[in-house]
């Protein structure tokens, strides 16, 4: 457990003052660290269930919305409709957005905790789980590939040449892996009217990728992706879907009652069996099971074949000592994201989350007053937007309970908060909601001219230029 010094009630900076109010509803202000779905849904909950609480959202990028902007696939625009609600939140007079502010830089968590009644950690999971094998440096993280085609500024330097790649191997059996496979195998002209970046679209148009193999270490009944995404693969015209049908059939038979008891698994296996092996065109998508990568080289990946051990819902992959070499021009790993610690807050190194009970951050089992967590920082990097929404609402409810019960002290009045933010160097370079909307209008107009919902600006410098910061 990282060493964590509990913030004492005394103020470090003599020019700020602290009010300990006994009236729970007055002067409650909340700082939210991380302006993605978790942060916005927590704010939405606070707005709907309080009357006076003000909220300041801090986000390290100029642009808000986190993975809704940079993670959701370009061909899933309806999933991004949740941004409408986020807009309602940011345009509420009780909410202020501070983009281009990294908490943990010149603005510290300790400073926030000294100025606000409560602070919510909703900064997500910015790191990547590794394979831990030789040649890892040759492997491209799927999240980087996704971030690249979605326009995340720091991912724009991705150095891959799809013209020289015929076969891609993706390690991982989750929805992110499927997103990558789909983007690689979809006809680029079907992506031209999405918000995929111009650079990615052009690279995909010139791509020579014909085959994508998605490899998992366990079997068909242990896949982590969902039926919707698999169905989308079956709808790509002329794409051949391949897998070991005998393995799928025998697993389904062996564990028939388990499959039958799970509606989602049963539907997925039915879908897979009804499409796998059908005729098609040149391009193929292969779902491979029971293989763990042991080494990556310029030529491709060496896998060890696995067998499964244990009950079907806790099956473990065990190496058999048999190896398979798979040639590949590009290897992506999609084995999960990882949350990282933030200075000034506790962190559970084993579970890799901010330790908490129902959203209240804990340290060695004791609740840390005024510190909360929401989203992936709280639960780990799993779950769709709907999951994060419910999770954020639970954190919001915990905050509201604490406000109502008088457990949260008053924060500083707004002008004192601004003084503190100014001293931390935040105000001179932050992006306000208005400025973000101006940037967004620019993107939408640029997109309109080429038939896309938006043409994303892909460099922070350019964003700040357009905004005039």
């Amino acid at each position: 457990m990282k060493v964590f010094a509990l913030l004492s009630p005394t103020i470090r900076n003599s020019s700020t003052r602290r009010l300990f109010s006994v009236t729970p509803h007055r002067d409650t202000n909340i700082a939210i660290v991380g302006g993605g779905a978790a942060g916005f849904y927590t704010a939405a909950r606070l707005l709907s269930k309080t009357t006076d609480t003000t909220i300041d959202i801090f986000e390290q990028l100029p642009t808000p919305h986190g993975l809704v902007r940079y993670g959701v696939a370009p061909d899933h625009p309806e999933v991004k409709n949740c941004m409408t609600k986020f807009d309602q939140v940011s345009s509420n007079p009780r909410v202020r957005y501070f983009g281009n502010v990294r908490v943990g830089g010149t603005l510290t968590l300790d400073t926030l905790r000294s100025m606000y009644s409560g602070v919510v950690l909703s900064y997500g999971a910015s790191a990547d789980r590794q394979l831990g094998i030789p040649g890892e440096e040759l492997v491209v993280p799927a999240r980087r590939f996704v971030a690249w085609y979605n326009g995340l500024p720091e991912a724009q330097g991705l150095d891959i040449d799809l013209r020289r790649v015929d076969r891609v191997v993706i390690i991982g059996h989750g929805n992110v892996a499927l997103d990558c496979a789909r983007i690689l195998l979809t006809d680029p002209s079907d992506l031209a009217s999405t918000d995929i970046t111009a650079q990615a679209l052009s690279a995909l148009r010139e791509s020579n990728v014909k085959h994508v193999e998605m490899v998992g270490r366990r079997g068909p009944l242990q896949v982590a992706f969902t039926t919707k995404e698999l169905r989308e693969m079956t709808k790509i015209p002329h794409l051949r879907i391949l897998c070991d049908r005998d393995l799928v059939a025998s697993e389904c038979e062996k564990w028939a009652s388990f499959v039958d008891s799970s509606r989602s698994l049963k539907r997925m296996m039915d879908l897979l069996m009804s499409h796998a092996g059908k005729d098609g065109g040149e391009k193929s998508f292969t779902l491979s099971f029971l293989k763990s990568p042991v080494e990556v080289t310029e030529r491709g990946v060496r896998f060890q074949v696995n067998r499964l051990d244990g009950p079907v819902d806790q099956a473990k992959a065990v190496g058999t000592g048999e190896y398979i070499d798979t040639p590949s021009g590009l290897v992506l790993r999609s084995v999960g994201y990882a949350t990282t610690p933030i200075a000034g807050a506790p962190f559970d190194e084993r579970r890799r989350i901010v330790p908490n009970i129902a959203g209240r951050v804990t340290h060695n089992g004791d609740v840390v007053p005024g510190l909360y967590a929401a989203g992936w920082a709280k639960r780990g990097p799993v779950g769709v937007i709907a999951t994060t929404m419910q999770d954020a609402y639970r954190t919001g409810d915990a905050i509201i309970m604490d406000i109502t019960n008088g457990h949260l002290r008053s924060g500083l009045p707004r002008d004192s908060v601004d003084e503190g933010l100014r001293e931390s160097g935040v105000l001179e370079s932050c992006v306000t909601n208005e400025q973000w909307k101006h940037l967004e209008a620019f993107e939408v107009e640029a997109g309109r001219r080429v038939g896309k919902p938006r043409e994303k600006v892909t460099s922070v410098d350019r964003m700040l230029d357009i905004i005039g910061v």
Partner: protein, 182 residues
Amino acid sequence: MLRALPGTPGLLRTCTRIAMLSSRAFTACRTPVATHQRKVQHQQRQPLWPVQHAHRFSSSALLSKDVTVTFIEPDGNEIQATGEEGTNLMELAHENDVDLEGACEGACACSTCHVILEDKVFDSLPEPTDEENDMLDLAFALTDTSRLGCQVLLSSDMEGMRIKLPSATRNFYVDGAKPAHH
């Protein structure tokens, strides 16, 4: 506690429905709708078409019948709601401040408008599409008579139907809770 809320005026509902049917065709090019601030304390419901546009449509004789149903929130609170035939249950809930989400705004791309219908109503409806079933797979507390509210349209033979909202809470506070898919 039974509370009867007046439904949105019929004209606005008609206009909202017309606007929504056309706005659905442009879902792929959706841009964030311009918001206007409302001083309401409960969850803000944004119609799929900005309210001010509704006034451009002239009133017309409403040929669709009004249907009255009851929503039952997870805490037992009952809300009576009246809507026109053809309104989907998610919109109807939103128009009547029922505590039902709709993250993807009716695009069948999430599971947050999940509702539980009475057996006979469920059985009388056409089968959900594969797309709806794919989303229902992910819904929490799924039942045999669950549907996505945005995919079920009011019809006159649903008069008096009771719609249950599933309990939304998962055991998030329990350490080691089983991870969901993403």
